[in-house]
Symmetry: C2
Subunit: 98 residues, 2 copies
């Protein structure tokens, strides 16, 4: 059973990709993120479970790399925003009308 | 300093949103994910740092919710795919020609 913090995963992705990705700049990395989201959407639509697993990982990896280039600690911002349940209604489960 | 595993965050998002999100079905949740990616892209383009932080959190939250509905453990698939560096060249840092 893996136990990986969001920060550990972001740091791993930095070690693998940050030098290359930061040269590319944020807009080009956003384009890559969108491409990966599209691949995830396709795998889900087609019911390709194994392919979808890899695409979930890739979307998270691209989100991490963009966060790193933007100087954002993904773990910190995610934990902060959702620390008290839904950020809008502050309930768990969410009681918003959507 | 927060220490949140990917699994803990996915579980939190399940507690807040899974009942509501799973009723909506995967395609509708993919649409929400894309909407959040768009909001992140806009905040980054405009240099709105605080807004971008919240959008990073939201993209991760939607990715988690879709993973949960698809029965995917985001931590497990992410850790597995990137355990040995770049999944293509197996190097850290990545030595792929892209």
């Amino acid at each position: 059973m893996t136990l990986v913090t969001i920060r550990e995963f972001q740091t791993s992705i930095e070690s693998i990709y940050l030098a290359k990705d930061s040269e590319r700049g944020v807009p080009a990395n956003v384009a890559w993120l969108v491409e990966e989201v599209g691949e995830l959407a396709r795998a889900l639509r087609k019911g390709e479970a194994e392919e979808a697993e890899g695409e979930f990982a890739d979307v998270l990896a691209w989100l991490c790399t963009i966060a790193s280039i933007a100087g954002v600690d993904l773990e910190e911002v995610a934990a902060r925003k959702y620390a008290h349940g839904c950020p809008k209604c502050l309930a768990t489960p969410c009681a918003c009308d959507v």
